[in-house]
């Protein structure tokens, strides 16, 4: 008899109408950020209007999925459900080649191997049928 599938116990993103295209793209294993059609400003997190000029004219820009570690921390203590079973884990800001910084986890890598400026690439983690997370691993 097969083992029962492990229940995903970490918090899920409270997806809203403003962000739904971002999360739907991740489900397709595509990473998008936004660009203002009027002033050209790139932005992440997604939102309905440009934070530079408030224009609602938004273009979704597909990212290469490559970037560098901007900063990170090896988390040894977090009692929250889902994370206490995953210690230690690496939380990081990755600066995408497109320029914006994104909070994420670094995976497929021993925590002590992580260095700032290390090249990384996106890996899509399908955590539930509805939610896929963009995590990063050392670039191959």
């Amino acid at each position: 008899m097969a083992d029962a599938p492990k229940k995903y116990s970490k918090p899920l993103p409270p997806i809203d109408e403003e962000s739904r295209p971002y999360w739907e793209a991740l489900q397709r294993h595509e990473l998008y950020i936004q660009k203002c059609r009027d002033c050209g400003e790139l932005r992440y997190h997604p939102r309905a209007q440009c934070t530079a000029c408030l224009s609602p004219r938004t273009e979704w820009v597909r990212c290469s999925g490559r970037g560098k570690v901007y900063t990170f921390t090896i988390t040894n203590q977090n009692n929250a459900a889902g994370f206490r079973e995953s210690l230690p884990y690496v939380m990081a800001y990755v600066q995408l080649d497109e320029g914006v910084k994104m909070l994420t986890n670094l995976v497929d890598c021993a925590p002590e191997q992580v260095k700032i400026e290390m090249p990384v690439e996106v890996v899509y983690e399908d955590v539930t049928p509805e939610v896929t997370l963009a995590k990063f691993r050392p670039a191959r």
């Binding site: 970490k10 918090p11 899920l12 993103p13 409270p14 997806i15 809203d16 403003e18 962000s19 950020i33 400003e41 790139l42 932005r43 992440y44 997190h45 939102r47 934070t51 530079a52 901007y70 900063t71 990170f72 921390t73 090896i74 988390t75 040894n76 203590q77 977090n78 009692n79 929250a80 459900a81 889902g82 994370f83 995953s86 884990y89 939380m91 990081a92 800001y93 320029g99 914006v100 910084k101 994104m102 909070l103 994420t104 986890n105 700032i116 400026e117 955590v127 939610v131 997370l133 995590k135």
Partner: protein, 382 residues
């Protein structure tokens, strides 16, 4: 229009408790308010403004008015993390100066140590949360990521951060109500377990119960009260956040508020005899000193070495022992203000800073590497 020298702190009282399983947070507030009013030579009848945060969620300020049985003409529940009380004093000063109230009490009480709450997992439903909570952010981790980047860019060492914790403990050893008073060494800090790299347990603020109160009134009213007034010369506040993905993580709210508070106060760094800097973590002190302009960006590591931050050093900070050793009931802003007031009145006994005439208070609230608030005040005994 300037707030310079228009208002003063005329009462300040720190609750001595660090563990109060027998009291409610509201009771700690009431006892603190009693202490601060007595310190000022005022009574409940004089209070017509109230400011607080962190007592309970949402509309807790109304519950506090109920508990204290007050019907104030000015209410401020600005809730921007542990720095809130620093904001409150600036707002109280503006309110008094504008005639919205005459005497404002800024109050706080907490029993977070005796009745612990767990946080750092789930998270709210603000738009930003969905991009963060899935990855396990913690408060320590948010500050740790700033420390990691600072070390990478400038070669800042764990030993330099540790010296900040060692200095705070030295100060705590001279404060009879501080929670941890046994001296520690740099080696002790480095040998304590890593909570979130590069920050060790002893790089992190303690958890205690506690509370306090501050009374703010006009310069005119302050003249004939019980204690020597502590005047507000300048104040500034702001926030830093993810900046739509373009954040410079080593520039904090203090960069903006320090510059503005100094300008408004008409004083310079050389005039500052004491700096009360929110020490949620050792890195908070280091980057705040840089951002306030006490040293250049990147030079904070060397700046904090050699005892400079000791009560008898060139720039004394957190002479009560700080959040790292004395008192940190989740929110610390209140205690920055109380210690600054007591130092400016020369009431600090063995840890008294000599000729303490001008003090800077800087509060950082929230998560340094994600979103934080910041406020800077300049206070003076003249």
């Amino acid at each position: 229009m300037s707030l310079k020298h228009k208002t003063a702190i005329v009462g300040a009282w720190e609750h001595p408790t660090r563990f109060a399983p027998d009291k409610s947070a509201f009771q700690i507030v009431a006892e603190s308010l009693h202490g601060a009013l007595d310190d000022a030579g005022l009574t409940m009848k004089d209070i017509d403004g109230i400011s607080s945060s962190g007592m309970t969620g949402g509309m807790g300020i109304i519950s506090l008015c109920d508990y204290l049985n007050i019907e104030p003409s000015f209410i401020d529940s600005t809730s921007v993390g542990g720095a809130s009380f620093v904001f409150h004093v600036a707002h109280a000063a503006a309110a008094v100066n504008a005639g919205l109230c005459n005497v404002c009490a800024v109050v706080f009480g907490s029993t977070v140590a005796s009745r612990p709450v767990s946080f750092g997992g789930a998270g709210g439903a603000d738009p930003c949360d969905q991009y963060e909570v899935p990855f396990g952010p913690t408060t320590v981790g948010s500050y740790a990521m700033v420390a990691q980047r600072h070390m990478h860019d400038y070669g800042t060492t764990p030993e330099q951060l540790a010296e900040i914790a060692v200095t705070m403990r030295l100060h705590a050893s001279m404060n009879p109500v501080a929670k941890y008073r046994n001296p520690i060494t740099i080696e002790d800090v480095l040998a304590s377990r890593v909570i979130s790299s590069p920050l060790h347990l002893l790089d992190c603020c303690i958890i205690s119960d506690g509370g306090g109160a501050i009374i703010v009134t006009s310069e005119e009213r302050a003249r004939d009260l019980r204690k020597k007034p502590v005047y507000l010369l300048g104040a500034a506040e702001t926030a830093r956040h993810t900046s739509s993905g373009h954040r410079d993580f080593l520039e904090t709210a203090a960069f903006q508020t320090g510059k503005l508070a100094f300008e408004r106060a008409g004083v310079t760094h050389k005039d500052v005899d004491l700096a009360m800097i929110y020490d949620s973590f050792t890195i908070t002190v280091l980057v705040t000193l840089e951002n306030l302009g006490f040293c250049k960006r990147g030079e904070g590591g060397a700046f904090v070495e050699g005892g400079r931050l000791r009560f008898d050093g060139a720039l004394p900070i957190n002479t009560d022992g700080g959040g790292l050793s004395s008192c940190h009931p989740m929110m610390r802003g209140m205690f920055l203000l109380i210690e600054a007031t007591k130092q400016l009145r020369s009431e600090c006994g063995p840890r008294q800073v000599k000729n303490c005439r001008t003090a800077l208070v800087n509060g950082t609230g929230g998560a340094l590497g994600q979103r934080h608030s910041g406020a800077t005040l300049i206070l003076s005994d003249q």
